[in-house]
Point group: none
Chain length 404, copies 2
């Protein structure tokens, strides 16, 4: 089986430029009206032309039948076997909201919860308070200081937040304090290896302080910590693929995962439109060998169950695609990280329509447009998403021949 | 994942006969004129009939995106994961020119180079002297003898040759003497483990002698050695597949790799035509369970970039195919070891058209002829080349049921 060490052996730093355009949650399911999926229903003359000229197929995120979260789904597209390279929950939650996790740091997911007068948990999610209410509690927690460690805490969503510890001698091998039950008190953080004692002690001190700041904040009058995790120390793009790589994304999660693999994260504005993002790509194109561009709202509208709105997001991408096409990338890939069918309102396991356009070197096939059914007939066949980067590298002539 | 141990457990020595016809570098890419590939453009009534009656698919050599050399590409077709079973460069070069590499031997690639009066390399490839000039130098080197070891040296091509050491106590863990730079002298051969000291000493003595024989032979007045490798000790066909297997090939490389997996190599003449090769197969057919027949010139014409000539080679194969069909093999497979599109003039990563014909037991599909696009729709789907032998074995009813 191909692994990153194998790719690294063959990769060289000369060759074509690669553009990876990811429409989050792109794959869909047929609507009852006419049996068309979101992508099939969308009017996409540019994508259809690319599919016809190029080669299509279906990308399987992680493994057949598995619905991935955004973190593993993107790691897959970036070439990393997401089962082998697992990024801890604390790290994903932290990078997902824009907190840096650097080597040596420990990142932790936190939940606000409700406790009764005896300190026993009555609601593990603090009545699902609003994000605003969660942010108010987090503001209180930022006042906690503990000598010898730098602490950063940030609201994620509703009752969820993330905590990052920075300092010398930290170790993420610490147990969760969430007992996964009500009627009992939160557990103390316990070191799972002797080297993690300092980290567990800091966590317990921080929880003790937090108790004080939260005691009159019911229903969010206590918290639990879980998913202690360190920087996953992923092999970096410059080393494995020998690529100068950049990420153009609006949401923190995608910036965070890109940063974990060593891409340069291009500054964007949270309100940037698809057109804005494509213009960012165009602006930085000359400085990079590989650009990953992420479109969020296909997934969001899929999660909403809003078929028509997801179609519109796809059409918006198609409309502005000439901004990217004018760059004449040697290899252009359009895909999704997973499917989020509007009919399913959630991430799903369905293989994701994928097109690869690399003038004169792609496998000939009979696909005439970009859509689920058409991609089934495509020359790329069905493949695991983490095989896609080797295909991109091959088409960009960035891999040496293997053996004589 | 299936490995050879698993196949070996299930394989038994009764069953049908298998014929594996490999057209080297078979896969192609569309020509601008009409968008047809070499195989699609070729007039191949016999292959088309087999594809229509049988089942087609696409074979991925090594892994998606990876362009293999002939060695790993053939190991794949023979059922060996070419990443797991890596054959050293020295061995591939040696067997590729017809030198035997047996257990205990050490095989090495050599380059003639040019050195100045101070002994510093000025040209790592000795001005790319002709093969004839290289052979003259090699003839001088055959005069070198070193007590306790048998030495065989043979020209490969231009400035390249191979050296095989035979004797007791040899070990291939020896460093290259090629410094991969000019302006510096060749490096001494160094043992990378203590057990390789004898081998390194022999190499250094041989180089010292060679210096004497080459000193007036500028531009090839020195040499470097690299890719020290031993017999890869591959599992053998008789053990794994329980097959009496034979190889009919014209080029040494394919004979060599076949020998490494334990096939009997049938004597052929270097000028044998496709028809001659097929007659060899017919002559020995009754004595074997499995015959591998290799056609070289599809690859050669692809490397030349000569689309029409590659088409002609394919048509020649089709024309003489009845010689093989008259043998009524129980399982007949026609494929390539990799693609060598004339439009690309090089080995490439593209999946290779494959057909499997096994009357009454192959998967039904809709493929009507033999070509890249048609194989995309075939019942074999896309598979890794090293999975093909298990398919062949299954269709030949040579594998026991797995489990009760």
């Amino acid at each position: 089986m191909v692994d990153l060490e194998f790719i690294q052996r063959l990769a060289h730093d000369q060759g074509g430029k690669i553009l990876l355009l990811v429409m989050d949650g792109l794959g869909g399911l047929p609507r009852p009206k006419d049996g068309l999926t979101e992508l099939e229903a969308a009017h996409t003359p540019n994508l259809d032309r690319l599919a016809k000229e190029g080669c299509t197929g279906l990308s399987i995120p992680v493994a057949r039948g598995i619905s991935p979260g955004s973190g593993p789904a993107h790691l897959g597209l970036f070439g990393y076997d997401a089962i082998k390279y697992e990024v801890g929950r604390g790290v994903l939650e932290s990078v997902g909201i824009g907190l840096d996790v650097n080597p040596g740091d420990v990142a932790i997911r936190g939940n606000f919860c409700t406790v009764d007068d005896s300190g026993n948990i009555t609601d593990r999610r603090a009545g699902r308070i609003s994000t605003e209410a969660g942010a108010e509690r987090v503001a209180r927690l930022t006042k906690i200081t503990i000598p010898g460690v730098e602490l950063e805490v940030k609201i994620a969503k509703e009752y969820r937040f993330a905590l990052v510890m920075r300092g010398e001698g930290l170790n993420p091998a610490v147990s969760d304090t969430d007992p996964q039950a009500t009627g009992v008190p939160p557990l103390p953080a316990k070191p799972l290896v002797p080297e993690a004692k300092k980290t567990a002690d800091i966590a317990n001190k921080w929880i003790e302080e937090a108790k004080h700041w939260l005691k009159d904040q019911a229903p969010a009058n206590m918290l639990t910590l879980r998913g202690f995790a360190g920087d996953p120390n992923l092999p970096k793009y410059a080393d494995v693929f020998k690529l100068r790589a950049a990420c153009v994304a609006v949401y923190p999660m995608y910036k965070g995962v890109s940063k974990l693999v060593g891409m340069n994260v291009i500054p964007t504005n949270v309100n940037d439109t698809t057109e804005d993002e494509f213009k960012h790509v165009a602006r930085i194109w000359k400085d990079y060998d590989f650009v990953f561009c992420h479109i969020k709202y296909t997934d969001s509208r899929g999660e909403d169950g809003d078929f028509d709105a997801k179609v519109k997001v796809i059409e918006e991408v198609d409309k502005h695609l000439p901004i990217l096409l004018n760059l004449n990338p040697d290899v252009m890939i359009v895909t999704g990280d997973h499917s989020t069918p509007a009919m399913y309102k959630s991430h799903s396991w369905h293989p994701v329509p994928t097109l690869l356009h690399a003038p004169a070197t792609h496998m000939p096939d009979r696909s005439q447009c970009f859509g689920e059914r058409e991609c089934i007939t495509g020359g790329l066949g069905q493949f695991f998403s983490h095989e896609l980067m080797a295909l991109a590298m091959g088409h960009a002539k960035r891999l040496e021949k293997y053996g004589a």
